[in-house]
């Protein structure tokens, strides 16, 4: 099938110092001019620039929903910004065979002083809808957002939930041939998010093409047939979503058996080391029949109430196997944690996790979870098949856990 989006050799170069700091004052420019002759002598290549994107090639067929994933700084946002024509590429070419609407944020251009009604028109027109289109869909937008009673109230008086719902509602009623969506579904309550996802799905089944950037692997898996994985500005792979998501989750930490971080005295709590230990030894692979511990070292720089340490264990497809926090066992630490260096070990029983790769996330946060001190995607380790019940009988058992449970079987007659 002919593609609706064709991207060829796309690249985007930024000057170091970051796009944010790139504007200058006249004085700096004049200084720069005076320095130029010197600089051209001492300059060594293009060391002061980085490629945010390089050699990007892909094609997308009409009606596809394609996910774009990658860790922060992989170039996802830059790619979306180029596709939505906000920034210009440094090299390469994109051909779009349809109208594009981009949704890099909800409520772009909302003005707090204007009423809901006025903002629907303003926002709709900023997103590329015509006035007629907005008028036709107005009632639908209002009822989708569930703000009928407040439609003539300035949005500055809206609750944040209402505000987000209204903003979503306008965006959800866009009808371009190509829709480019950034991590916008991260806000709003769960029920409304589901409503938006299913609305997007409807849109896609009507032949529209959607490019969807997200950190939420669940949403990507549910919505997208194909996914593009970016890393350091390059395409790692393009393929069926489950495979790409799995690759990402695993490659994200590249089998790191130990995570180390320097001291950071300015933070209240600071993670120093995470490792998978078996009998005090560091391991990247653990046998199915072995128990092991997740070892966490952290520093408390000042006495702290409400601080807590948690771990999450994820399977390679992004499913959370379990999450656990230290106050489960030590409620007193939630009340007060004195300054000092701490070691914590979480025992994971043997004959429990099925063979495969797992990711450990660690987080240090304040009690209400409002402030996160540290939350790296810390480790990847493998449970090696040392004779799981499944392999013994030559079948791969489904499920993340493969415990050997006690069966009480009696013959009753």
């Amino acid at each position: 099938m002919e593609p609706i989006i064709r991207v060829q050799d796309l690249g985007k170069q930024y000057h170091l110092g970051g796009p944010a700091a790139a504007y200058s004052t006249l004085r700096e420019t004049i200084m720069e001019l005076a320095r130029k002759p010197l600089r051209s002598l001492t300059r060594n290549g293009n060391a002061s620039t980085i490629w945010a994107l390089k050699d990007i090639d892909f094609e997308i067929a009409p009606g596809e929903i394609v996910g774009i994933i990658g860790r922060n700084g992989a170039g996802k946002s830059t790619l979306l910004k180029i596709l939505s024509r906000i920034v210009e590429p440094t090299e390469g070419r994109v051909e779009l065979y349809g109208r594009v609407a981009s949704l890099l944020e909800v409520g772009t251009g909302f003005h707090p002083e204007l009423s809901g009604r006025e903002n629907i028109f303003l926002n709709g027109s900023i997103l590329g809808m015509t006035r007629k289109e907005i008028e036709r869909k107005f009632d639908e937008i209002v009822s989708f957002a569930e703000v009928e009673r407040f439609i003539d109230t300035p949005v500055k008086r809206y609750s944040s939930g209402m505000y987000v719902r209204l903003a979503f509602a306008v965006a959800a009623h866009l009808e371009p041939e190509i829709l480019v969506v950034d991590e916008v579904l991260a806000v709003g309550d769960h029920r409304f998010q589901q409503k938006c996802l299913s609305k997007m799905h409807d849109v896609a089944t009507h032949g529209r093409t959607i490019l969807f950037v997200s950190h939420n692997m669940g949403a990507v898996s549910r919505l997208c047939q194909r996914t593009i994985l970016l890393n350091e500005g390059r395409v790692v792979t393009i393929g069926p979503t489950p495979e790409v998501v799995q690759l990402y989750t695993v490659s994200n930490t590249l089998g790191r058996a130990e995570y180390l971080q320097p001291a950071a005295p300015q933070k209240a709590m600071n993670l120093r080391r995470v490792a998978i230990l078996k009998d005090g030894e560091m391991r990247a692979e653990v046998g199915y029949h072995e128990s092991f511990s997740i070892h966490v070292e952290y520093e408390v720089n000042r006495a702290l109430a409400g601080g807590n340490v948690g771990i999450g264990l994820f399977s390679a497809d992004g499913t959370c196997v379990f999450a656990s926090a230290d106050f489960d066992a030590h409620p007193e630490l939630l009340e007060m944690r004195d300054a000092g260096y701490y070691h914590a070990d979480v025992e994971v029983p043997a004959q429990w996790l099925t063979n495969g790769r797992y990711v450990v996330h660690v987080y240090l946060s304040s009690g209400a979870g409002t402030e996160i001190y540290d939350s790296p995607e810390a480790l990847v380790f493998t449970i090696v098949d040392t004779g799981t019940p499944g392999s013994k009988y030559g079948v791969r058992r489904s499920g993340v856990l493969q415990p050997i449970l006690e069966w009480k079987t009696e013959r009753t007659s």
Partner: protein, 279 residues
């Protein structure tokens, strides 16, 4: 699944633009509704949360007129081409206020719309243009005040008033030119925000708002030609109060306005592609 036919030619091609890329006029036409909505937003929002509301559009030139009348008309006794000084001053202040507000608003408009520019595509020229057009509404309000004053002084309207729309158009185009240029410069050099108020204050003194151009010694008068605002403001007085037009000066002003506008659009288009990178 496919419910529409793909065009054989791409609708949009995104690639690094050539240095001499021209302004995409069809794009601006396609986004004309956005121009309307942004103008409408600026007008609606401008006097929100003010006690006097849109009266500010009238009070600004009114107070300036009173101050000018006291200091220049009475104390300094400057000439006013044979018409009452308050009328002379207001006749210049109404277009001047439009011009100065328009270039201030559009000069700061791009930087003030950073949240839009980094989040969604539309032809960027719409931003300074909308800021200028929003000033036009204030201009019309202030113009009502001028009409009242003309009634008070029993000014007889002549056919020359038919030329008024051309003058308004010239003012708008010149404001657009200067404002657009300033807005593009402002993205790169935030100095513009601080320099612009000074520039406007200086500009006021050489724009025949306070003194008629006839009070400038003849050997220096050619210098006034370099400032289209001077001829345009004198033009307003001619059209409204039935004074003779200075056609050569107006022609030069019209040519300069077009040149400034073309240069501004060219300069704007050259930096437009990097706005989102550096704003």
């Amino acid at each position: 699944m496919q419910s529409f036919r793909l065009p054989t030619e791409p609708l949009v091609v995104i690639q690094p633009s050539r240095k001499w890329s021209l302004l995409n006029l069809t794009d601006i036409w396609a986004y004309r509704e956005l121009l309307f909505f942004l103008t409408w937003r600026d007008v609606k929002v401008r006097y929100k949360q003010t006690a006097l509301g849109a009266a500010w559009a009238i009070l600004q030139p009114l107070f300036m007129m009173l101050i000018f009348t006291i200091f220049f008309g009475r104390l300094a006794g400057v000439g006013s081409a044979g018409i009452p000084y308050p009328l002379f001053a207001l006749g210049g202040l109404v277009p001047w206020t439009f011009f100065s507000n328009a270039i201030t608003a559009s000069g700061n408009s791009l930087v003030g719309s950073a949240h839009l520019i980094t989040k969604v595509y539309f032809p960027r020229l719409i931003v300074p243009a909308a800021a200028m057009l929003a000033g036009l509404v204030d201009f019309l309000l202030a113009f009502l005040l001028l009409c009242l004053l003309m009634v008070y002084y029993r000014v007889t309207i002549t056919v020359q008033i038919l030329f008024l729309p051309v003058l308004v158009l010239l003012t708008a185009l010149f404001s657009l030119g200067v404002g657009t240029w300033m807005s593009a410069l402002n993205v790169k050099y935030r100095d513009v925000r601080f320099a612009l108020p000074f520039l406007i204050q200086l500009w006021l003194f050489v724009s025949s708002v306070i003194l008629p151009s006839s009070s400038v010694p003849p050997k220096w008068r050619w210098l006034l030609l370099l400032n289209p605002m001077s001829a345009i403001i004198e033009g307003y007085r001619s059209a409204l109060f039935g004074l003779p037009f200075d056609w050569p000066a107006l022609s030069v002003a019209a040519v300069l306005t077009l040149l400034v506008l073309l240069y501004a659009i060219y300069a704007f288009a050259r930096v437009e592609r990097s706005f989102a990178d550096i704003i």
